[in-house]
Symmetry: C2
Subunit: 218 residues, 2 copies
């Protein structure tokens, strides 16, 4: 069975992984006949956000790996010790956790730094010719780590975010939520998901398509 790595960034779209996108990714992977291998960095979250009010929960701290385990029902490994070479593909669901925990894209934009273990995993898969899926805001990681080599990517249709991705070397293509953009070099695939919304069902269509395109390449 083909193994698809899934890098999680916490649990909750304002300070971690977008939960719905992560769950829909796991569902799509199983339905495509592959096995999901969840991973997350063992680091503190940038902060904790109250998802009812949208306000920062001052003084509260949570760990990205520990919170990611909520989505994966405990079946999540430390990204640092993960066997990336055993994976056939790699997918990053979205959520602000990608831009606050896996990188500091939310704060530094095109000058962002990416967590070294995330960067190493993305780079190793890309250079190994393995398909890479980036959901929602995760194409920011593709743009930062791969630069021009990322090729065509999408975060939907937000002009400012699109310009920031282009400043890092990628080429942004507007895309509806149910669709994907496949880079011209072929192995980088992205879908806007909750960057666009408007609903879990529409987001699921895009993610199902992204996983189908990845598994078709395996």
């Amino acid at each position: 069975m083909k193994k698809i790595g899934v890098i999680l960034s916490g649990c909750g779209f304002l300070d971690g992984a977008e939960i719905q996108e992560a769950v829909l990714t796991l569902l799509a992977i199983e339905r495509a006949g592959a096995e999901a291998v969840c991973m997350a960095p063992d680091i503190a979250q940038h902060h904790v956000v109250n998802h009812l009010t949208g306000e920062i929960a001052e003084g509260e701290t949570r760990n990205v790996l520990v919170e990611s385990a909520r989505i994966a029902r405990g079946a999540v490994g430390d990204l640092r010790s993960a066997s990336i070479e055993d994976l056939d593909a790699l997918v990053l669901p979205g959520g602000y956790g990608v831009a606050k925990n896996l990188s500091d894209f939310a704060f530094r934009g095109a000058d962002c730094r990416v967590n070294p273990d995330v960067e190493a995993a993305v780079r190793a898969c890309f250079e190994g010719g393995k398909p890479l899926g980036f959901i929602c805001i995760a194409p920011a990681i593709a743009a930062r780590v791969l630069g021009q080599r990322a090729g065509e990517i999408t975060i939907g249709n937000d002009p400012e975010t699109a310009r920031t991705l282009e400043a890092m070397g990628a080429r942004h293509i507007d895309c509806p939520v149910w669709n994907t953009v496949v880079s011209s070099q072929g192995s980088v695939i992205s879908t806007p998901a909750w960057m666009l919304g408007p609903s879990i069902g529409e987001v699921a269509r895009g993610i199902d398509r992204l996983i189908a395109e990845i598994t078709a390449l395996l």
Copy 2:
């Protein structure tokens, strides 16, 4: 559009709502052409569990409504002020949150007490002839609140839990994960989900079926 209430119990299967079940419920509701209305009680969680180790996080506290908002992307209301009369049906996803936060079933078994707002919502929907869906361990709430009126329900095939539900007046029927049990009086529907597993795809089959049966009654 028909409105289906979804009562959440936190965010994470060991101390709150089972995340995958909750997300799959929201997806199935949209795909069935209905609208999900997420609700949760504004109460402290019984405790916080580290989902990586399974151990209790001593000294940590979280709120059920606030954590439920992570799954619902903020779109969750306080159950106490919810307009239950506007709902056409009600669904309870599972997770230990049902047995630790919405009730104390995890600690008192057949002698459990149910949160008064949860009890009132279940009772009002049942007495209004509205369909009720109970996923995973949530049939314990049906058995406790409705007793013999719950009729036939399922939590899968665990004999000890089944006996406990029967001690509260319900009749337990063994059921595979992809299927549901519809009570003979017709409005109480249950599916085992992660009480049985073994995978998100199998759990999704049972939840899709449960939502289809509920919407067929509307």
